[in-house]
């Protein structure tokens, strides 16, 4: 027997060692030296938190009571591990890709980032894990009690509950120190994981040492052990086939669902390839842990006095043989098992509690205040720390309430059945796109309720939480509702009974709920991304199917960015696509980009809603926006090379298409040109000929008639001359034969003169001209006549064609990318998109009605003039009317306004 104070000293030294290991690992990780911290070995060893004190002490007790059945707890996980290609690989990939932080987070993300589901799963996990933590505290306390005997000269041995409190406090400190260093759960807990790996080695060594001592120290070797096993009372215990089956299934499922296992398997996973190693190494670890369990149980029953607690044979066997060092090692093994489980479980639970209970509630209470990011960060860390303390406090409370006297294995199984209730939602969620939030919630809640009723509440014993009468005869005498014999199935083992009913109801509710409900958009998106996690190309649901007018987008963008930036953005994009003008094709990439730009101004949610309204014509919820953000991340991961290539192809194709369209249009125009010019020349000639014949052949004309007809002939002749002049002018310009005579002039004066000289234009109604004198104080050095010709043409066009009830022409001078531009914007009907590309071509008039004045050469001449002057004139879409932009050549400007 060891004195209590030595035991305490050893514990403290061991704990200090673990602190040291964790600290060194954190420091190495911080310096980027991760080589061995990231090895598959450490990953495998960290999985050993599956083997808790329940394994270390409890397995022997379990074996002493039920024979080989204890193995089921390890055979289930073994099948899951060697079958990693089925489920674990996918879970790990999803966890990494979606940045999953816990089981609750996985379920919540999969089902459309449902806060309610996350909260429900968190509550379930806290309720189901608390007894398990209590179990660990109990085992440490128990081992202290059995092991230590008060020494006369040493410390007075405290009561058990005091020991438990100290253990709980020590674990809280360790977990808070190393578990809440960093906020992002994807930055892994290197310190904790390394310490756990060390503990894994200690507990394996301890159990193997005790086993070897039993086989070769107490017995004479394997053959004697075999004989003793077959002769022992354990061999005469009848086994239960339904339990064998149910427990293998249960333990395999729990291995995936337990918060702490999810933490080490998925969240702490550094590299998917570590799974391949762990797939055989961890089953090996569990096999070694189990190898000597039955021999220890058999020898304990044979050697130790009748009535000894078989749960403590691992300690009491060496002690009874006065092997104090071995017993100390065994004690440390048990201590390691308990502490590592509690540390990881409380980290996992605290992440869930803080992310899925505390944060949603806090944000709900102070709506709109979430913009203070630093504030939130501190809050999250604090809530995690408090959650860790809270989880341990709950465990301690449960330990005190339950009295701690029960067989260890029973509590473990109750806990397993609880956590396994997330299995249908989890497996269904990662393999079946049809699974919905409603189904998942229905399944988990019904399973949770049945578990509470048939297993958890009755586990406290009669008359503690459920009355003895209810346990025996059902509520209100309804026998078929008896907790442990639902619908009269009273012959089943209680655990098998609970597993069966809870999972059957759970799965049924999950399936029916999923089939009967319709998922929200975000759910469907997340479902597709998670189920098809290995297939990058799906999951892209941008704005691909949209049919949208680029002009609408431009109108909207101008409202937000202001016209200048919006036009610059559209112009750049159009150039990148290989198009002329301000209107790029609304490709998904462009719309995505536009949305990002907009988000910078008005916030992501508004930007998404606005774009959504134009693109799909429907209102879009904020949830879609979250999905889009996720997708963007996906797309960025998507092979960028492929992206570039396809963009290049698309650009070339677009250029070709545009060129082809233009050629076709031009060829049609060339055809039309001859008949146009014929028409333009013949129409005035017809009048001239008709009237001259009248004048020649009709003798009795009045003087007034003669006068009038001569005037018509004269006017029509002038019209012909003008037309020929314009044609020649254009020809000269097009062939670069025009000469320019630059003069210095103030822009304002030029516009004044242009307005004046268009005042005689035939128009349906007077037009108001809006100007800004100050901005027109630009001094130019250019060919004044030619530039005036352009202005006159544009103003005359507005006078002629603007049909608004209160016609208005706005002339404004703007700076565009360092250049000066003059915009002529009227409030008329504007020019249809189909015509915008052609208006600068010869004879391209929009209808014959507008043939009233010019010959359809005006804009063609304007364009040629501006090209010769070194500037440009272009149509400016999205201004609510016809709008033209004259971009002055940089060289022409002597002084800007």
């Amino acid at each position: 027997m060891l004195p209590y104070n030595i035991l305490v000293e050893v514990c403290v030294i061991y704990a200090a060692l673990l602190f040291g290991v964790a600290f060194l690992a954190e420091r190495r990780a911080k310096r980027g030296k991760l080589s061995w911290l990231r090895s598959p070995l450490v990953y495998t060893l960290s999985l050993s938190i599956y083997c808790t004190a329940w394994t270390f002490y409890g397995a022997v007790g379990y074996a002493a009571r039920s024979g080989l059945e204890f193995l089921t707890i390890y055979l289930g996980p073994t099948l899951v591990m060697v079958g990693w290609w089925w489920v674990l690989r996918k879970l790990v990939r999803i966890g990494r890709r979606q940045r999953i932080t816990s089981v609750a987070d996985l379920i919540s993300s999969r089902y459309g980032k449902s806060a309610v589901l996350g909260g429900v799963v968190t509550c379930l996990m806290v309720v189901a894990t608390t007894p398990y933590i209590a179990l660990q505290l109990q085992s440490v306390t128990l081992s202290f009690g059995v092991f230590a005997r008060p020494a006369p000269e040493g410390l007075a041995m405290p009561t058990q509950s005091v020991t438990t409190i100290w253990v709980a406090i020590g674990l809280t400190v360790f977990t808070v120190l190393f578990g809440t260093r960093n906020l992002d759960a994807n930055e892994r807990h290197h310190g904790v994981v390394t310490a756990i790996a060390v503990e894994a080695l200690v507990k394996l060594a301890a159990l193997l040492a005790v086993g070897a001592f039993v086989v070769w120290g107490i017995a004479s070797g394997p053959s004697e052990i075999m004989a003793r096993i077959n002769a022992s009372p354990i061999a005469k215990v009848p086994a239960d086939g339904s339990r064998w089956f149910a427990l293998i299934f249960l333990s395999g499922a729990a291995f995936l669902c337990l918060p702490r296992m999810f933490q080490v398997l998925v969240v702490e996973n550094e590299d998917e390839r570590h799974l391949a190693t762990a797939s055989w190494a961890f089953p090996l670890y569990m096999a070694l842990m189990s190898l000597f369990v039955l021999p220890i149980a058999v020898m304990g029953l044979a050697v130790l006095p009748a009535g000894s607690n078989p749960d403590l044979f691992v300690l009491t066997l060496p002690l009874s043989m006065d092997r104090n060092a071995l017993a100390m090692l065994a004690f440390l093994g048990g201590f390691s098992s308990a502490t590592s489980m509690v540390v990881v479980a409380s980290i996992a639970l605290s992440t869930m509690v803080s992310n899925h209970l505390v944060m949603p509630l806090w944000l709900g209470f102070r709506r709109g205040g979430a913009s203070m990011s630093g504030d939130v960060r501190q809050l999250v860390l604090m809530s995690r720390r408090l959650s860790i303390a809270g989880v341990l406090a709950l465990g301690y409370t449960y330990y005190r309430i339950s009295g701690g006297g029960e067989a260890l294995a029973a509590i473990g199984l109750i806990s397993f059945v609880g956590v396994v209730q997330v299995l249908p939602a989890m497996i269904g969620g990662i393999f079946w796109r049809g699974a919905t939030r409603i189904g998942a919630a229905a399944g988990i809640l019904s399973g949770f309720a049945i578990w509470l009723y048939t297993l958890f509440l009755p586990s406290f014993g009669p008359d503690v939480l459920l009355s003895a009468a209810l346990l025996d005869h059902g509520p209100g005498g309804f026998g078929w509702l008896t907790p442990q014999a639902l619908f009269g199935l009273g012959n089943l083992d209680p655990v098998v009974h609970a597993v069966m009913w809870s999972l059957v109801m759970n799965t049924t509710a999950f399936l029916v709920g999923s089939l009967a409900s319709f998922p929200r958009p975000l759910e469907r998106l997340q479902g597709a991304q998670i189920v098809n996690v290995f297939d990058y190309s799906t999951g892209r649901h941008g704005w691909a199917r949209s049919f949208v007018e680029a002009e609408d987008l431009l109108v909207m963008s101008q409202r937000i960015f202001g016209p200048r930036e919006a036009q610059a953005l559209f112009l750049t994009e159009a150039l990148a696509q290989g198009k002329d003008g301000y209107l790029p094709d609304p490709t998904p990439e462009f719309i995505d980009r536009l949305e990002r730009e907009l988000a910078g101004s008005v916030g992501a949610a508004t930007a998404h809603a606005m774009i959504g309204q134009i693109v799909t014509g429907a209102s879009v919820s904020v949830q879609d926006l979250m999905a889009v953000a996720d997708e963007t991340a996906q797309i960025m991961e998507y092979s960028s090379q492929l992206e570039t290539k396809s963009q290049e192809l698309a650009r070339t194709a677009r250029q070709l298409r545009d060129a082809n369209q233009k050629l076709t249009a031009l060829s049609v125009q060339k055809d039309a040109f001859l008949s146009q010019i014929s028409h333009e020349l013949r129409t005035p000639m017809t009048s001239i000929r008709a009237f001259s014949e009248i004048l020649m052949s009709e003798a009795d004309l009045t003087d007034a008639d003669k006068d009038r007809y001569s005037r018509i002939i004269h006017d029509e002749a002038l019209r012909l001359t003008r037309l020929l002049d314009a044609l020649l002018d254009l020809n000269v310009l097009e062939h670069g034969q025009a000469t320019f005579r630059p003069e210095t002039v103030v822009l304002r004066d030029m516009i004044d003169r242009a307005i004046l000289s268009t005042s005689g234009v035939r128009s349906a109604q007077p037009i108001t001209i809006v100007r800004n004198d100050a901005s027109e104080a630009v001094i130019l050095h250019t060919d004044v006549d030619r530039l005036s010709q352009v202005f006159i043409n544009l103003i005359a066009n507005a006078r002629k064609y603007c049909v608004a009830p209160q016609a208005r022409l706005t002339i404004r001078v703007v700076r565009v990318d360092g250049q000066t531009a003059i915009d002529f914007i009227d409030n008329g009907a504007g020019i249809p998109i189909v015509s915008q590309g052609l208006i600068f071509e010869k004879f391209s008039r929009l209808s014959d009605q507008s043939a009233a004045g010019g010959a359809g050469l005006g804009l063609a001449i304007c364009r040629e003039i501006m090209v010769r002057l070194g500037g440009s004139v272009s149509y400016l879409p999205g201004q609510g009317g016809a709008a033209f932009r004259v971009l002055l050549p940089q060289t022409a400007i002597i002084r800007a306004a």
């Binding site: 099948l79 055989w280 096999a287």
Partner: protein
């Protein structure tokens, strides 16, 4: 343009890799079957003077267990990094994945 069609036959190396993954998927099924063999054993109450078969049964289970470990280890040792990206359902040449 890139040919989007998937090859009908994969080259020998790739074919072997696919079968390796198939094997990896089969291991747990075989394991499950062998671990459920105890359901077929006779569980009667053994008379006080009779010997049980507990030790033999334990040896059987551990033999299966270690057998699975060895099998899984051999498969894991042959896997290559690129195998990890292969989809469950689709039996495609890894080089053609990017084109799809």
């Amino acid at each position: 343009m890139i040919d989007r069609r998937k090859p009908v036959f994969l080259e020998r190396q790739t074919y072997r890799r696919h079968r390796l993954i198939d094997a990896s998927r089969l291991v747990p099924l075989a394991g499950a079957f062998l671990f459920f063999v105890p359901l077929l054993w006779e569980y009667k109450v053994v008379a006080p003077d009779e010997q049980g078969f507990l030790a033999e049964r334990m040896v059987y289970l551990f033999a299966v267990w270690f057998g699975l470990v060895v099998l899984a280890a051999r498969i894991a040792a042959r896997l290559r990094p690129e195998d990890f990206d292969r989809d469950h359902e689709v039996d495609v040449d890894p080089d053609s994945r990017d084109r799809g």
